[in-house]
């Protein structure tokens, strides 16, 4: 606390995670450097950072994925370290090495350990050698489709296509039959190439009704490594997480110790340092399969922070500067329950269709037990080039029922105008019997499309008609009044502009 480990840190990311890291730095008395593409001149991370450097045009391949420009920005500003956030270059071993070569500390694992466990194929091999159960699967697939078909036959359908280089469901496809395989293979490769610049994919047995449960590990550069409990992330759409919680409703202290030890073993074997996540699939029978390691900070890290009381970003920075872990395994005590909802600019009632646009109005929820990690503000126009996540809404409660009740309350307070968001979906989910009982799996949402439909309470329809009618009445009334102020003026479109939110941004 007394002295900051670094004087200045560059954040090689955007959106809520850049803001999250900037907050941690400012709390540590560290100056911050934001980088931004042309689409992000007015983004929140640029506003909040102490310095800001433009790194290129909107497409991430020309900006946030440009190692050379990011290192230039670090050199130009004298940043001593770089935090990569998640996504973009966060699991790029080449970037981690380039930082070291440029004399800048990379806040994360070394390039070597990243490659050792970050690559899914190599990680599987590592786990098999260590005796950790893994889901049956293949090495990277070749270009010969017939051979791929044979490999799939050997595993048995359904199979899962996965990108070697990335996470977050990009380049991932479920294949139910041989007939679907060629086209889905092409799609997966295309998506992998555009998301990670690498079209390598592989096949895996598709476990039915699995739960996604992951363990947070933390290691320093002195050989110390602990786990910080698990997160349950089974509520997903298109293989992307929408809701996460800690602890998992099905993990007992004994199971936690078992999978926690397994995760620590994996991290130590790879010479890992910094924060990392070991992902498992849990079958309906309670068996855990190793899935992959995310060699970076996760989107859902806040639920772990809420129950452990540990600031993961702060600790990453301290550990990157060479500090020993400030806690031992015995120090880690879980208190209460935390849930996170990823609020995305998508319309759940239209199958999560992207809903970019301008956020006209924004009221985040507040009050006890509510944490809001946002990356937007009123008047902000969401760029179409990047991830659709607007914010993470995180709550803490003394137990899971209290946390769910608090999340309901918080979602009811949360208001976003101008675009459609996942808020109505999240609210319905918090009322669903299965979620409340903890009976979920990664395919839960596709089995429950009713959760995506809008609410149709009759009283809600009534108040909606009342409100819309009064608003309309007032608009007509004011329009007439203003017309007379104008003394016959006719620039109606301008008035509409002035009335309908022009003042948000001028």
């Amino acid at each position: 606390m007394a002295t900051s480990p670094f004087k200045k840190i560059l954040i090689a990311n955007r959106g809520e995670i850049a803001v999250r890291i900037i907050r941690a730095c400012h709390e540590m008395g560290i100056r911050t450097v934001a980088v931004y593409s042309d689409a992000d001149r007015d983004a929140l991370h640029v506003r909040m950072a102490m310095e800001a450097i433009r790194i290129g045009p909107p497409p991430s391949t020309e900006s946030y994925l440009r190692i050379d420009r990011i290192l230039d920005a670090a050199k130009q500003t004298g940043a001593e370290a770089i935090h990569p956030g998640y996504g973009f270059l966060s699991e790029n071993a080449g970037f981690a090495r380039a930082c070291v070569e440029a004399g800048v500390v990379f806040i994360g694992p070394t390039g070597d350990s990243m490659e050792a466990i970050g690559d899914k194929v190599r990680a599987r091999k590592l786990m098999i050698e260590a005796g950790v159960p893994v889901v049956p699967g293949t090495p990277p697939l070749g270009q010969d489709v017939d051979k791929v078909l044979a490999q799939a036959d050997e595993i048995g359908y359904p199979v899962l296509l996965k990108a070697s280089a990335g996470g977050g469901g990009k380049g991932m496809r479920v294949v139910n039959s041989a007939a679907d395989l060629p086209s889905l293979l092409a799609q997966a490769r295309g998506e992998a190439a555009s998301a990670f610049g690498d079209d390598t994919v592989f096949l895996e047995k598709y476990v039915l009704k699995p739960r996604h449960i992951e363990v947070q590990v933390f290691a320093d550069q002195h050989g110390n490594c602990v786990h910080l409990g698990e997160r349950e992330c089974s509520i997903q759409r298109r293989h992307q997480k929408l809701v996460e919680e800690s602890p998992s409703p099905v993990v007992t202290p004994e199971v936690r110790a078992t999978i926690g030890d397994l995760a620590v073993t994996a991290a130590k074997a790879a010479g890992y340092s910094s924060a990392g996540t070991v992902e498992f699939l849990r079958g309906a029978d309670g068996s855990f399969y190793f899935m992959e390691v995310n060699a970076r900070l996760q989107v859902e890290h806040p639920v772990t922070e809420m129950v452990t009381g540990i600031d993961l970003v702060r600790t990453m920075i301290e550990v990157a500067a060479g500090a020993k872990l400030p806690f031992t395994q015995d120090d880690i005590q879980l208190r209460g329950h935390s849930i996170e909802c990823r609020i995305i600019a998508e319309d759940p009632s239209r199958n999560f269709m992207p809903s970019p646009g301008t956020i006209r109005g924004l009221r985040p929820p507040q009050g006890p037990g509510v944490r809001y990690d946002g990356g937007t503000y009123p008047g902000y126009e969401i760029p179409i080039f990047y991830d659709p996540m607007l914010s993470k809404l995180i709550v803490w409660g003394a137990d899971r029922p209290q946390a769910i009740a608090r999340m309901r309350r918080a979602l009811d307070e949360y208001r976003v105008e101008g675009i459609r968001t996942s808020v109505p979906f999240h609210r319905k989910l918090m009322d669903s019997k299965d979620f409340v009982a903890g009976n979920i799996h990664t395919g839960y949402l596709s089995e429950h499309p009713e959760l995506l439909k809008p609410n149709t309470d009759p009283w809600l329809e009534e108040i909606a008609v009342i409100a819309a009618s009064i608003a309309h009445f007032r608009e007509v009334e004011q329009h007439s009044a203003r017309k007379s102020v104008m003394k016959g003026g006719s620039d109606r479109s301008y008035w509409k502009w002035a009335d309908r939110g022009g003042a948000w941004r001028s």
Partner: protein, 163 residues
Amino acid sequence: MKITARVGDAVHEVHVERRDKDYVVEIDGESRLVNADKLEGDFYSILSGGVSYEVSVEVSGDGYIIRHGASEQQVLFTDAGRQAREMSGAREGPQTVESVMPGKVVRVLVDVGDTVTEGQGLVVVEAMKMENEIESPKDGKITEVKVEPGQAVESGAALVVVE
């Protein structure tokens, strides 16, 4: 003032007038006294019969999106003629399929002359790193393709015409 409001499939006849600081709102013949204060942004505080509603009212096309709690409801205001047209099936005849969001066309899945069925994918538009298939609104034949891969499109841009 008389308004015809549509919520989903339901149609309501509404009459609104001021009474002192309040509004008298009659919906399908049933009248109620409502106190409504416009607050910051799109927010209204509405008191009706001792019950308090905090709603936000977003202008959207021909109507409004009303949000209450985490719920949202679209209310469309229609005049009688237009409503009749819509009810009698605007889906006959040639129909232009529009992009529902700004983005980039990554694939065009149909050619002029193709026969398509309702729900069939026509064009794939990428936005926010997500590929989205724009589907055919009805069974028919493609008479025009107005975009090509790589092209940037705005929300509402014409993509193809189905007849």
